[in-house]
Symmetry: C2
């Protein structure tokens, strides 16, 4: 008999708690597993031995269903970067101390590519000291930029939010008789997956988004203004989707000065808005989808949430089968009917790597998404959650904030 | 036999198309009404005789159901302010020409308090020239700031969006172990109804929003910083809801200078974010709910959408009963069970007036909402639409943009 540990890390998504449910449910089925300990605030909870027996927190099947519709990380998160153990072994010793004290046989880490670095380092360290604790990574990120896996848990729900919201913004933008430009800024510092996913609207008869700019395509202000003028000649209300991470010349994004004389980071959307206002002079506005694109569980993709639960469960089975230093990944078998299997890959091949939008998904002008990308994106946003509501708003799994303190 | 005209005006909401459906359905039932003409872009369509026979646009019952889940104004909108007819009669003559040519017996105008000014002026003018065309206003605004009516169509859906999103942002904000402040900027230039409605979360066991600032309460930066410091001593993640229209000293909202050296209007949220960063120094971010709070039909309140349809229908009946220069209003009979009736009021008493949040709904410190307000807000956000989805996103009523050109 042994226990397992699970932690959540990195930026929130709608699907991280579903993966936690997957881990917990699968562990409950396994006679050789005694308890599941949730680490508070990612790896920090293990370092500080701040862990919660999930049996005392997740009491019923209804709790598990609520968790699957609750955004963000119920166990808290961290942005902790583990040092190399050759340089600083102290923190590794603390981790080993906690894990041994709690009789942990496997540690499941749900997170992005930083967390997969942790999975890699910890598994290597444990091997080096001949400690038999399996370490398995469960991917998550709305950025969809992890290598090897077909897509990441959390991405589908974010894409469903982006597509739905862009469609509603399009309805909102078209109402007046004067021409207008609406610029929607979407998350993605280096990879344009989420911004590109907005093009699924093209498969539904929408002409919007009329322009899509991703970091993988070269961007110029001159080209942008030419594109906008051209679209304005065809459409009354031009909708532009832009990744927060596109590169504009001379670091404009930090050029705005506030009342106190301090510079602050203004988003690319606001910058392009100002450019259109000054250079074209038409009605223009910018909209930042902000954290809503990662936490709007009320618009969760059922495909995403179900898969996120499955990949959490698969992580437990992989550990039981003796795997360590591995990250669970999706392999797409077919687009239609959409079928995926779950496999695993070496954490070292995923850690600290980024996967970019393939060139073939971007049109030749570099200002929109090719229709070939749609069969990739479409299956990921399908299906809706059967939300439990309370007093007119979605019910969330409730954990008192003092538990996480 | 006569025809009726209907138009939509002002800023979009999730409920304006439901009121259009209410008008259209009720007119179809009435043997004395021949056709219903929809005016394109509000009053502008009547002035320019740009009108659509709704029978050629809304073909099936499914179309009507889709319209009820489609945000914004399917007939377009305008911000046109009708001059006094004593000063400029020309435009009135154009309106009369269109209405006579199309044999209009009643004109229903769905809009905010500017539109109710139009209802008032047109009905007075028609009386003065002894023209028997009834003019009836159907209210709409997410701001909920119209007089006499208990609440406005469109407000409930916006409030449901704000409450749901604030709850999800709260989950997103609590994940890290460090203290943080999240400032959510909500629409409402003069009245704080929508911002105040976020306090419904208190009825669901949430401590957030911890601070709520509305234009009806005096605001000072010193008081704000003191409030934030106090809440940070009690909660790790402090959530602040703030109306875009709160008054801050010396016009700070226009103090930000961009790259081109031009000033632009930065929102109050961004300004307060900077203030917290500079004066308190903790992790802080601001989020603007932007147009999503008025166009997120996927989160429509069933109560709101159903009522919006009913009040449109009631407008047609009022016109048939000989009313003119009236605005349809809700009268609340009881909070629990929630019951409203529909009545009418003189447009002159609603036009150009604003209704503010009552003092008793604001706490004594002026930095949050009193629980007494919750029984007012709660019924308005109840119920969900049974959304028709298509390819993973809500389906909208489709009208080709060329029709509205």
């Amino acid at each position: 008999m042994f226990n397992i540990a699970v932690a959540q890390s990195g930026g929130p998504t709608c699907a991280i708690n579903a993966s936690l449910v997957g881990v917990y449910k699968e562990a409950l089925k396994e006679p050789s597993i005694d308890a599941v300990f949730g680490s508070v605030n990612g790896l920090e909870g293990i370092i500080q031995n701040h862990m919660i027996n999930l049996k005392s927190m997740i009491l019923t099947n209804d709790d598990m269903e609520l968790l699957k519709q609750t955004p963000s990380t119920v166990l808290g998160s961290c942005r902790y970067k583990l040092p190399d153990w050759e340089e600083d072994e102290e923190v590794y010793k603390q981790i080993v101390s906690t894990l041994k004290q709690r009789n942990i046989g496997a540690f499941l880490y749900i997170g992005g590519n930083d967390s997969m670095d942790t999975v890699n380092k910890l598994s290597e360290y444990f091997k080096s000291i001949s400690l038999d604790i399996k370490v398995i990574g469960i991917p998550k990120t709305i950025d969809n930029d992890l290598c090897i896996t077909d897509h990441t848990p959390g991405f589908g729900s974010a894409a469903k939010y982006v597509a739905t919201t862009l469609k509603e913004i399009t309805r909102d933008s078209i109402v007046y008789s004067i021409p207008s430009v609406t610029i929607v800024e979407i998350m993605g510092r280096h990879a344009g997956w989420l911004t590109a996913s907005s093009a699924v609207l093209h498969a539904m008869g929408e002409t919007a988004p009329h322009l899509v700019y991703v970091p993988e395509a070269k961007f110029s202000l001159e080209g942008f203004l030419k594109d906008v003028r051209q679209e304005l000649s065809k459409h009354k209300a031009v909708i532009v989707a832009v990744s927060e991470g596109i590169e504009v010349p001379d670091g404009v994004q930090s050029g705005v000065v506030d009342n106190f004389g301090h510079k602050y980071l203004s988003g690319i959307g606001k910058y392009l808005e100002e450019t259109v206002r000054n250079e074209i002079g038409c009605k223009v506005r910018s909209i930042e989808l902000n954290v809503m694109q990662r936490c709007s569980s009320h618009l969760g993709s059922k495909t995403d949430i179900d898969e996120s639960e499955c990949i959490g469960a698969a992580g437990v089975r992989a550990a039981l089968n003796g795997s360590t230093g591995k990250v669970m990944v999706f392999k797409r078998v077919s687009d239609m009917p959409y079928t995926v299997t779950i496999d695993s890959a070496d954490a070292s091949k995923i850690a600290n790597q980024e996967k970019f939008l393939p060139k073939k998904y971007i049109n030749s002008a570099g200002n929109n998404i090719d229709d070939r990308a749609l069969e990739y994106f479409m299956p990921l946003i399908q299906g809706e959650l059967n939300l439990v509501m309370e007093h007119g708003v979605p019910k969330h799994f409730a954990i008192h904030e003092s538990v996480l303190k």
